[in-house]
Symmetry: C2
Subunit: 147 residues, 2 copies
DNA sequence: TTTGTTGTAACCATTGACATTATAACATGA
DNA sequence: TCATGTTATAATGTCAATGGTTACAACAAA
């Protein structure tokens, strides 16, 4: 199991928007070129980010704008916008365990809290990183390239 | 994206083995009945747990034994045995970003450490729970049933 | 040698990820 | 208004993973 590439693609998009926003129009075609995928893939992800209220996208003219400060958008916000997790549960149970078995009828009560804690540990760590970290991070990497 | 039900099935199996080990022979058929799935699904998971060195399975006669103490098997051990995570990376990148784009050629350097930290947060929390916790947990729940 | 069990191969159905093409909707500048 | 560039979305396709099922070989013990 892996978290889909859509999540890292979304972070890639945000980084490109920030890096190139003053140099050129950042279109889905341009982004597709940087990420090496199809523009439609990009647009679907943009739609998800738009539905989550993180960005606005200009239709005819093209161009992406953030609705919040970089420091107000965490990795978790992006993850939540992108990953369609059923009921918000990271862990999946097999349907309908046997209610006549003492273990079967108690398996959810037994595991739910512990699994939630594990999920929360991941999500809390995601909340520690913001898009502002990406701005400074990519600036450092680009500066290092020209040394 | 969700972590497959094989993981919670494996925890279910361990719980059943512990609860029923003195009362009856715990076979893949019995386990399939408690979990409400097919015995072959159970056997495949048992094979993974066996390959990870967590259990031994008696072939002709049936029966499952742990190779370690309950307190020495963490949720992470089970997760690692069950989930085939490519390269051990939880997060998936799109293949071959454009090396001619300053962002494309730096995206891994930009994200890798942060994503690893998120993954580690989840795995560290998984290491905090052992099968011994499940023994006491299920005992409490069963005691509560008879009140 | 019979019986009960595990190990595994060979399928099948369903779903999700990712890709691709085509076309409609829309905004802007000429 | 119209041409142009762009986004939005539907329709399709491919591929891999999940979960299920049947069948049968391998094996251990009574």
């Amino acid at each position: 199991m892996q978290i889909s590439s859509r999540f890292t693609i979304a972070l890639h998009i945000f980084t490109c928007v920030d890096v190139f926003k003053d140099q050129r129009k950042v279109t889905s075609d341009f982004l597709a070129g940087s990420i090496n995928t199809n523009p439609v893939i990009i647009r679907k992800i943009l739609t998800q980010l738009k539905n989550a209220g993180l960005i606005t996208v200009a239709r005819g003219t093209g161009g992406i704008s953030l609705t919040k400060e970089l420091s107000d958008i965490t990795f978790y916000d992006v993850y939540e916008a992108i990953e369609p997790v059923e009921n918000g549960d990271l862990f999946h149970f097999h349907e309908s365990p046997n209610p006549e078995c003492p273990v079967g009828r108690n398996i959810h009560a037994l595991l739910d809290d512990r699994l939630k804690a594990i999920q929360r540990a991941m999500e809390d760590e995601m909340k520690r990183y913001t898009l502002l970290d990406l701005r400074s991070g990519i600036a450092d990497l680009l500066a290092k390239e020209t040394e």
